[in-house]
Assembly symmetry: C2
Homo-oligomer: 493 residues x 2
């Protein structure tokens, strides 16, 4: 939470809530069950783009939301006019104080389907109400961080700049999308507000309109070089890259940058066949002695195009990635869900399940914790293990994991260690966690992703990372499933 | 601008700008050309999803942005620390006053590729600076309004509810996405904040968690009906729609709603085969005398699934559409661009062109105006005509239109009338336009879309609506193109 200016100040997002959270809240209240302690898990079922993992993001914004959860007098007035809510419920909202426990997987962590990224425990009226914003916040940023990391991996160590504000889905799409892109590994964003909010350098040079405004490309470049000799970066594709842009750039570098004792920085190509144009441009720049001038490209890029042009040997130093990153264009939905998994009765946690005709929509019940299992030999992660909240694991004993569907598929680990994945964020409504800075998260993420097997990192058809249930949790789930299915045992059709 | 509470108050989006708008601004300033009068057009090149038209949206938010364009002391301090900008430029920003003229196509209007949706005229330092937000605002809302209208058309008169907040790309994706969904024809949104901001009824009932919380589905339904007898809508798919959900719902309607002299409202199905389940559910409800109980479905719907299940005769009354609408999942980018088209020199407007090796990326130069041409006989729109700003058309004379690429394709109209498409929004920086309410925009949009030929309304492979250039504008463009291309006349490869 290192932002310089909090532009969210004054914006109350409490009412950014599906209306049914409120009708249910009123329902809980009117039935006197509002204080029943409930457990909700936020998790997802499918990794976007057929990838091997997702990159958790959005926890800091979730914290901001939960810390600022208050219903204004205007909100209460508005709700009263709906003629739907009891005065008792409205008065409860007026005096609302967040009391839940919240656990979350830290931002930047690689995460997998069916494990709880966020767990909320508290009075059901509260734990239910926050559903919309928990999902909206984590779904969006995790989507973009995951996409960003795919693109950054495709770029193989080259810098990737986030360029997509103008095509984002709304202002926050641009702002928090830029944040998530940095979490996923981007070097910087073109969005100035993102620098102000997240302290990540904003970068940018010129548009075609700069070049068009002047009487010639040469004059436009000259005007630029005179003002920015320290950081001279020229956009060379307004007219013709090889016949005009690069020759003009070289002339400008020689006549207006070198004489000041500076080195020019880069040229940018934003159209045309970037493999061909960058190769020819590189030759021309090198021949003119500008081996150190970087080539930036930026034309509807994504991880697939980047991989392709690099495999063709395109000498690109920096990628500017816009709309396909900021909207996760190839798969623009992160399908996180928020499900009731347990309630407390007389202080005892009772697991709850939601069945479905669709196997993958059946929930994993209970208040849980997750461990990442590491091999001592490789220090790489071999699986995640989801347990019931009160299970005690002994790292000195062998650990047998099994596939939750094909349960005969088993592996036993002896040389391993465990790392809990979730951290507690709120305790009885009090924030007990300090978010790292965005740059710290990016560094952490890189480190954690390096602990995955390379097979999991493939962009397409990666190895399926194992997310297993403990025997105890598997039994709990199985028993609840049998109990439910026996009620509707006849054939449907 | 009928919002009840302006939650944007206090949020300054001035710095939501690509950094290069600022480096260019400083460049214009330092070169003394900052007051050169420039013209920029915002337009798009391709209709999403292969549709026949897009639905213009976002003007009201663009107005809010332009009216609030100010650089705070903190912004100036931040910029000073970048060591990139001159004190003169910073002082200009500190005293910034928006002075541009802005024209826009009114929200809800069906629009087509290559026509200026927004035109900005003013000192280049200003007209350039607003680029990022003009694009971000109009791209996002036009994308969602266009998708919403596709879904609404597929639903053929049935109500469509926007349900997607939890899967939106950021908070504004949910808020302004809901607004745009309404512009496109949705009946309501589940987003409570959207009602507060845009005065469009928020709706919603219960989630599966409500049903899971109680000891049985029947009890959960009973508790609900007791609180909401006036508006009893039950989610019937938590356990088994036909064996449990519908039978329980009917029992509840009979025992807890009818006795209060009320009629139950609806049932909702959120999983399974919705064609089969709705048919069977309808039979059961009808047999029990509940012909008037509506069936709502809501499971990963879009225009294609809606069209399919309706063609199978699924008796669905209301569609709840979530992630595929709020993210325009099938094509989540609206590719609007913002291009310099003219500058004034000694008070004379000089057209500017941006060429490209990619034909479709060549701009249409000049300060322009657009007319929609209507047939007097059918009152339907037959084409849009883009002219130079000072052309005078006489509706009493025949009008010959021609294809701008295949110029031998010609049509002459005699019985026609013209309607200008853009309206002026700002005059020398002063707002001179009053935005209609969102519901007024929705009604206007419906009316305007009904003026298109049915062939243009097809979801797939629609008729290509004509967007033509006047002879004068075509000649201007042609001459500039020839001039440019002669400079690089040799073969490239």
């Amino acid at each position: 939470m290192e932002r310089i200016i909090d532009v969210r100040n004054g914006r109350n997002l409490t009412m950014l809530s599906d209306f049914y959270e409120l009708t249910m809240g009123n329902g809980y209240f009117e039935n006197g069950v509002q204080d029943t302690i409930a457990y909700f898990d936020m998790y997802f079922r499918k990794i976007p783009d057929g990838g091997g993992f997702a990159v958790m993001a959005g926890v800091d914004q979730l914290i901001e939301y939960l810390e600022n959860l208050t219903f204004s007098k205007e909100d209460i007035e508005y709700l009263r006019r709906k003629n739907t809510f009891s005065e008792g419920f409205l008065s409860y909202l007026e005096n609302f104080k967040f009391e839940c426990d919240v656990w979350a997987v830290p931002e930047g962590t690689p995460v997998f389907p069916n494990e709880p990224l966020v767990t909320v425990r508290g009075p059901i009226i509260q734990a239910q109400f926050v559903e919309t914003m928990v999902l909206l916040t984590v779904n969006h940023q995790t989507l973009i961080a995951t996409k960003s990391n795919r693109i950054v991996r495709a770029a193989g160590g080259r810098n990737v700049l986030e360029f997509g504000s103008r095509r984002a889905q709304g202002y926050d799409g641009a702002i928090y999308g830029a944040r998530a892109a940095i979490v996923g590994g981007c070097t910087s964003s073109s969005n100035t507000l993102a620098e102000i909010m997240f302290n990540v350098p904003a970068t940018g040079t010129m548009a075609h309109s700069w070049v068009q405004l002047f009487d010639s490309e040469f004059e436009a470049f000259r005007k630029w070089a005179e003002i920015y000799p320290d950081n001279c970066s020229l956009l060379v594709d307004t007219y013709n890259v090889l016949k005009s842009g690069i020759p003009n750039a070289i002339k400008i570098f020689n006549e207006y940058v070198l004489p000041k004792g500076k080195r020019p920085k880069s040229i940018r190509i934003d159209s045309g066949d970037i493999a061909y144009l960058t190769k020819e441009s590189r030759k021309m720049l090198d021949a003119a002695g500008f081996h150190d001038v970087k080539i930036i490209v930026s034309n509807s890029l994504d991880e697939y195009i980047i991989r392709d042009v690099l495999s063709q040997g395109a000498p690109i130093d920096i990628f500017g990635v816009g709309e396909r990153l900021i909207t996760a264009r190839s798969e623009p939905v992160f399908g996180g869900v928020y499900k009731l998994v347990a309630v407390e009765k007389d202080g005892v946690v009772q697991p709850k399940i939601k069945v479905s005709e669709n196997q993958e929509k059946i929930t994993t019940p209970h208040f849980k914790k997750i461990y990442r299992v590491f091999s001592k030999k490789s220090n790489l992660a071999v699986a995640d293990l989801i347990c019931e909240h009160d299970e005690v694991l002994n790292e000195d004993e062998p650990l047998t994991l099994f596939d939750p569907t094909y349960t005969w598929k088993r592996r036993t680990f002896t040389e391993y260690y465990l790392k809990p994945l979730q951290e507690q964020i709120f305790k009885s409504g009090e924030l007990i966690y300090k978010s790292p800075s965005v740059l710290e998260i990016r560094a952490y993420s890189k480190k954690e992703i390096e602990k995955l097997w390379p097979e999991v990192l493939r962009l397409e058809y990666p190895h399926n990372y194992y997310v297993d249930l403990s025997q105890k949790l598997w039994d709990t789930r199985q028993n609840l499933l049998i109990e439910q299915s026996q009620q509707y045992a006849e054939d449907k059709y």
